[in-house]
Point group: C2
Chain length 300, copies 2
């Protein structure tokens, strides 16, 4: 048995079992961000993501400007998934000693441009030596307690929505995506949203995360999935991941057209939440329900 | 020109020049932790440190239990340097797919044992694939606004103190050190401390950090440096680094024996703060002042 065979999610479960009960934190491992108590009706949100050369990107194919942008963007997307406002970021970077200083400059230029767009301040950094370029970005944000949206609030009868379109992110969106921070705030401000996650692992995998956390089932209407014109197939839209769109559930009364109008971007109703015993399904071409595999991106 | 020739501190300077002025954060890049505003008379402290296999440790020589302990410990030491109380940690880890799950368990067991000792909760994690074991730990803490101690408060005439003994950390202390969190709190609670840093790069390098940040000079009395019995020489005690002891300055009235009694560990007065134009010096065997090189550990 090795980490590849057990997989990332099993690894997380192993670690969770080692942890004592949380005394201070509101939400620990298992959502998009950790949620920490604060004063004045707000929570602090914290999330970290690591990108590694030749695992997450190849320098022959992408510039460090884009890697810097993505390194921050994936964590901004995690803050968005909980309807938070990103405030600060901290970077740990490693690079080969023979790298030109411009390499570090490019990384930070890409990161800082996105940081400026979202009003995020870079407040700390650690620089190390390594054979390959590695970065880990931590983002700290905040959210009003009444506006926090988690993965675990989906209710039977909820409709399932997704912003934008899915699949084909390998053709560019994986580096150029816009974290849906503003859209998530508009959702929290104007609608009753029961649960939310950002699509990083893939629609199917991330829907399973919502279902697991909420103790519910779900059915996706296969023909309603908004497939990106860059996607090779609907399978790609379901499982390729790195879309960094919002996947959320809301009561029946919430209408697709109202969401689209308010967010000023396409929002599509793609399914509904069912009871746990019905499992997580997708309707096929004949509109029959079949099991939806957890076929999203896996890290091992 | 490459990163090795420009070095870590020059890299940090390059990045700092790219940053807009801070609007929200109290302290950004350039101290042991970032300091963020909060309510109720407290600041939030955040710090990250990355450890990389074959750069910071070799798995043939040290177990991942110790790496996990150290990965958290170095950041706890940064929180201590600002007299803070560590509260939460988040981990990003990468390891080879062929690694046994026990590898991850060992890392987390080592980390969680130290976390428990210091009342720190693990609240988030990210697991990735890489050729070598990599970890980056972010610690979030807090400090009462009136108790925050920074690098930049040293005043001409201050005495310079250090806890414990220095050098020889390569023989074990680099993995087994105790972050001086309790000692730093005792200092902040009971004495007027003007500036503080933890010794990670080495006494000489870290003293230069205090002098630079405070706009002062310093003289170290060479014969007063508490050299560890594991150190090969006084040069080792001055520059090897990874001691994770506290280096701090306080007004003349603060006595070595009172500090030692209150902290219940050896505290030694090793020098005094002088004016900036006097530079950073050390007295040699003949009690003559010579320049103290920035000869601490460098990451490149």
């Amino acid at each position: 048995m090795n980490v590849r065979s057990t997989g990332e999610f099993e690894s997380i479960d192993r670690i969770k079992k080692m942890l004592p009960e949380l005394k201070n934190a509101v939400v620990g491992i298992g959502d998009d961000c950790a949620v920490l108590g604060s004063a004045r009706g707000k929570y602090i949100l914290v999330t970290s993501d690591m990108l590694i050369q030749d695992v997450h990107f190849e320098l022959s194919k992408v510039s460090l400007l884009k890697v810097g942008r993505k390194a921050l963007g994936v964590s901004l997307s995690d803050i968005a998934a909980m309807a938070g406002i990103p405030k600060y970021c901290i970077t740990s970077v490693a690079l080969p000693p023979e790298a030109p200083p411009a390499m570090l400059d490019d990384f930070y230029r890409g990161l800082l441009k996105l940081a400026k767009e979202f009003g995020v301040e870079l407040v700390g950094g650690d620089t190390n030596r390594a054979d390959k370029f590695i970065c880990d970005v931590t983002v700290i944000g905040e959210v009003e307690k009444v506006k926090l949206i988690r993965r675990n609030g989906a209710k039977v009868g909820d409709k399932i929505f997704v912003t934008g379109s899915l699949g084909g992110s390998i053709k560019g969106k994986q580096f150029d995506f816009t974290p849906r921070v503003k859209e998530a705030r508009l959702l929290a401000d104007n609608f009753k949203i029961h649960s939310m996650i950002d699509i990083s692992d893939g629609l199917s995998s991330d829907l399973h995360h919502i279902a697991d956390a909420s103790g519910v089932g779900a059915v996706i209407f296969g023909d309603r999935i908004p497939v990106s014109r860059n996607a090779d197939s609907r399978i790609d839209a379901l499982s390729a991941g790195e879309d960094y769109e919002l996947l959320f559930t809301a009561p029946k009364a919430v209408k697709e057209r109202d969401l689209t109008a308010r967010l000023k971007m396409p929002v599509v109703m793609i399914g509904e939440i069912t009871s746990k015993r019905e499992g997580v399904k997708i309707t096929d071409n004949k509109r029959e329900k079949i099991d939806l595999e957890r076929s999203g991106y896996r890290h091992f």
